[in-house]
Amino acid sequence: MIKILLTSHGTMAEGMVQSVKMLIGEQEHLEVVTFAEEMGAEELEERYAQVLGETSAENQWLVFCDLKGGTPFNVVSKFSFKNENVSVIYGMNLPVVIEALVLSAPQELSLQELVSDLVGKTAESIGLSEI
């Protein structure tokens, strides 16, 4: 099973969950960890460990981070380093998160298939309106 974790500096990830709910309804396999001001990297790492649990082929995670190189990204990357059961995508945005939830819901795709599908779609999720 692939579950999805959203994580950000401040409450962006929580807001993202609200927006997701508004568009595609309540999601079972969606979790959030936010990085608060004054929180140390160690505390953040503990939160991730609690949420992700023991990862395995039956417990895979796709993580969305707000920003490449930010602390949430840096810390959660420890869990994806040399671990094919965790993938991290940075530059979290609403259309790609929704796409991930929709594509992963039937639980038919492998994590690798899901990730390559999504990464192919990221470029069209941001652009200048021609209107």
Partner: protein
């Protein structure tokens, strides 16, 4: 090699550094002087990943960084990052004395005293800052460039630690 900004940050390269300090330092290279990171494949991979493609990255031991900073042929302008005051002191003692050291994040840990939200110190950190000031070098706490600069020694004195 010129140093644009000399910063203590226990998170090394992260959001504040990527979004604000590289530009503030007008740096073409980020130099991380950290024995732990230099010897750790994960840390090195992560630091490379965290560094924007527009700047170079060197992850060095403190000894290697001393050699690089002393090398008259080394070109470029660096944002120099160390994990804590001890590594900063080593570089100061090696001759890097013409910068106010920027303290970005020294985060909460058991046994530390809180000075500011992003500035927590062990008793030995206080001693190390005293040694840094004794070398004629000062330090300021400032997480991001547009924040107010606060002198480290003033803050330590205000909190009865120095």
């Amino acid at each position: 090699m010129q140093v644009g900004v000399f910063r203590i940050d226990d998170r090394l390269i992260h959001g504040q550094v990527v979004t604000a300090w590289i530009a503030n330092a007008d740096a073409d290279t980020v130099v991380v002087a950290d024995d732990k990171a230099a010897g750790d494949e994960f840390q090195r991979t992560l630091l490379q990943m965290a560094t924007p493609n527009t700047v170079k990255l060197q992850v060095l031991t403190v000894e290697e960084a001393k050699a690089l900073l002393a090398d008259p042929d080394a070109q470029g302008r660096a944002l120099l990052l160390v994990r804590g005051p001890q590594q900063a002191l080593e570089l100061v003692r090696a001759g890097l004395k013409d910068h106010t050291i920027n303290v970005g994040n020294m985060n909460m840990k058991k046994g530390k005293t809180k000075i500011l939200g992003n500035f927590w110190v062990f008793p030995e950190d206080v001693e190390t800052f005293k040694d840094i000031y004794a070398e004629g070098v000062s330090a300021e706490v400032r997480a991001v460039p547009n924040e107010r600069s606060q002198d480290v020694m003033d803050l330590l004195k205000k909190n009865g630690l120095a």
